[in-house]
Symmetry: D3
């Protein structure tokens, strides 16, 4: 039996999908409206799931207050109310698709979670699409 | 690490659960109110999840616009505002339970998804029940 | 200061929008896909709001258990898992648009609510459209 | 009895709250993180409510397909995947707070709705705040 | 034209509905399971709506950060993770029905909101019932 | 291909997180506000997922009416409108964290589900945290 805990966070950010070495036409073909010059934005819903045994003393896999503080400090404070192409050092050079953001968040959080270990990151960009990274 | 992308679609349809070779009493016993003579209906929520590596050039598993167009063309346009027992050729002879619909949608979509491959179909019939097909 | 209480209920039903005295073409022009021959369906969300003073003894405008039982008996049991064009005596001759359903439900419930009085009926047909009747 | 119809639409956009004639410090004091230099963004939920009598022939206040087409053409196509401070002619010079956006959308839609008349615009910026304009 | 702003907050609390001067049987008859001896609890959703003119300088009815801080300080910190019958001085002697809580919150907030004035409090106790107080 | 069915249920309950053999200070350090003396409460959302083959006769993994009746009888009726620390025999001695509740519900339901077998229990305590037990 696997036991897991999921916590949800929100942030609001701007982004633009484009590759500078591509023409505008190719950017538009691949990224559609998401390549518009001045960017657009989303309310992102971030779900972080940790797996691990339930500590019999506390009844918890890990301290949820500490997990939330970690996610706030490492992710939310660095991306909330920011432009993801310009304002976030750990995203420099990353095309901020939902998939790439989820992978980047995984790399930030994975080494820092304990006890237990990171099992899944879900990043919902709109209520019609979600990227998932899973161990 | 597994990377996945989920997209959501909606459709509204009528259906009736019954087996013609069973008596009305047996249909009522097995299918309950869902066997009522003139059918009823739902707003279905369809979630399609594709797994595959993230293309380093685009930052995407596959082109979400193309995935949505595929789901619209192959599923939504054929079931939306339809009666699932009468109007949908690929459901002929299928009792339109949520499980059977999810399996039928899997069979339609699975050979057509590329790059990546179909990982999961979730079909929510009401906000109290959901059928899932997973590789 | 106005005080009100809202309760929510759900039902799933089939319907078809069409006028028998119109041609198929005119039905299609006015009602679009909703005029398809074999009908389709929805998960309806019904919100009933009652206004009235808060009883100082109970802290309630009216007994919520009784209000829910009334809505179940007078509306939900008569429309849930039914075809709204064929199975519901109090909807006979009514084109089952969200507006007409909300008005019909108002007429059924309005004389029966006490203490307090009916203030509003909201009927959500899909998560994109809702009809409202308000005193 | 008042009868109304509400339709919902979504758009995703970037914005920045600041007054150019104010200092950065004053902008930060009034607008908080919303004044960040490179902007941020949201998934907006727009609810448009029209009031009017129900047409006895159609059972509808107005043709919902036409209402949605109007909102798409006049609002959604002009703001979706845009930067609200830079890309939208009818918002030029407007600080794009939720309140100002709702008022601006009202002014665009109000003269164009018929039959019935515009009753309310709700603009949800995040699931924690919503601006409302009501007749 | 009326302009309004709604902000949402959450709190989790225990409560019990009963009148000490009534018998257990009468408490059970009026309050049902809500009168159970050791109480139960809910995740409450509180929506506070303020009406007022939009300040042409800021584009805001009032400073949303200040409004949220007021609601947090005056309501949320005093009721969140509390037992509403025992732990909240301003609810002493109040049967904590949704209606009574909404009225009590109105009385706390109404004198403190400026600019603009309190227009509505909605308190959702479960996703099936909501109490509303409106000017 | 794995086929699964998920059903959702709700209950409202009070709880308190604390270990009697720990000091108040240590309880507060580990459990935070959840250790408050008189308890607090939540609207819990319980999702039960069963895996198994789809019966070709019925189109169902198992009879959903029976599954819901089982969950109601074994779980919901025993925890709804209760205090989880005091009123529920099968939770005696259990610190009612979301993780421990999900494990306890698993142990109650797992031997009783047939046909198919229990695959997952998700217990959402607030819309920010969810515990999961999975085979």
């Amino acid at each position: 039996m696997q036991t897991l805990l999921t916590v949800k966070s929100h942030f609001s950010a701007a982004h633009r999908l484009y590759r500078p070495e591509w023409s505008l036409a190719r950017n538009r073909e691949i990224f559609g409206l998401c390549s518009n010059l001045n960017g657009h934005g989303h309310n992102y819903l971030l779900e972080v799931t940790v797996e691990g045994p339930v500590d019999p003393e506390t009844g918890m896999i890990l301290d949820m207050k500490e997990l939330k503080a970690l996610i706030d400090r490492e992710i939310i404070e660095r991306v909330d109310h920011k432009h993801l192409n310009m304002d976030v050092p750990f995203l420099e050079g990353v095309i901020p698709t939902a998939e790439n953001l989820a992978v980047a968040f995984w790399e930030v959080l994975d080494p820092k979670i304990s006890p237990g270990r990171l099992y899944e990151i879900r990043l919902q960009e709109t209520d019609r699409n979600t990227a998932i990274v899973r161990r």
